[in-house]
Point group: C2
Chain length 130, copies 2
DNA sequence: GTTGACCCTGAACCGGGGTTCAGGTCAAGG
DNA sequence: CCTTGACCTGAACCCCGGTTCAGGGTCAAC
């Protein structure tokens, strides 16, 4: 609980994110307003973790607003459970579709990389998966 | 081979894409310039299929330029094999990463939707997967 | 006590991926 | 004939997710 305080630059490099992105997420409400010393933001490791969550969720096709709902559910006394449930219900099929599409592409890329003679037109990966 | 000709609107509705997007893809070089009758574009079913490819690839995290490389490889006499191989080599790990992220999110969404009491902070799905 | 690295703010800018709009053409049906 | 609907073009506009810039403060070390 010694909760070492981190500058925005330290957080940025630990989370592999730009400083400007951290300020941007703060404006968007994805990150709470941090403590300050001498006007400068101070964070704990929790923020680094939150940035990790943001990155994973973005990659999985979540918009920043959706990530906001996700993160809101981690805030204590969250009255956000309903929103979260709704989000989960809405996104689950989307994520499933995403995974399927990605696997389709993966399959085709693998083919393409081992055998240059395949063309998409003769390959029914796409037509089979719509 | 009767190759029925389709108007842009028919193609759009079959591929579930906006008319404006089709014109946009054409400008971007993702679709070849179609035949015209009386100034109006005429397509065959091949274009509908191509639009399907574009949609799948986009969903799998490909930029339109990357999709362009992909599609170029289907054009006859394609000198594009090298580009395609390079693209495949570059994108395969990215697609794999995408699938992993998406599965992480899927797992967490499933948890969230069956049990509202989970919070991200106590959930190690994220910390385990970075 | 000044130098240099880091931090602050608000506002402007950017690229990607399209959509919308104004103004005009064409073709079929009533 | 004339209206209605689908199509045409180029240019402008939009949202998203940030980045960059100008102009200024802070802090630690030397």
């Amino acid at each position: 609980m010694a909760d070492v305080m981190l500058s925005i630059g330290e957080v940025a490099s630990r989370a592999d994110v730009n400083v400007s992105a951290i300020r941007f997420y703060e404006r968007r409400g994805l990150l709470p307003e941090p403590e300050r010393v001498g006007g400068q933001r101070r964070y704990t490791a929790v923020t680094v973790q939150r940035l990790g969550i943001i990155n994973v969720a973005k990659q999985a096709g979540f918009s920043l607003d959706e990530v906001g709902v996700l993160l809101a559910s981690t805030d204590e006394g969250a009255p956000a459970h309903e929103q979260l449930q709704a989000l989960a219900a809405r996104k689950l099929p989307e994520v499933d579709a995403l995974i399927e599409r990605a696997q389709t592409m993966r399959g085709w890329l693998a083919l393409a990389s081992e055998c240059g003679c395949n063309t998409l037109d003769t390959c029914d990966l796409f037509t089979l998966n719509q």
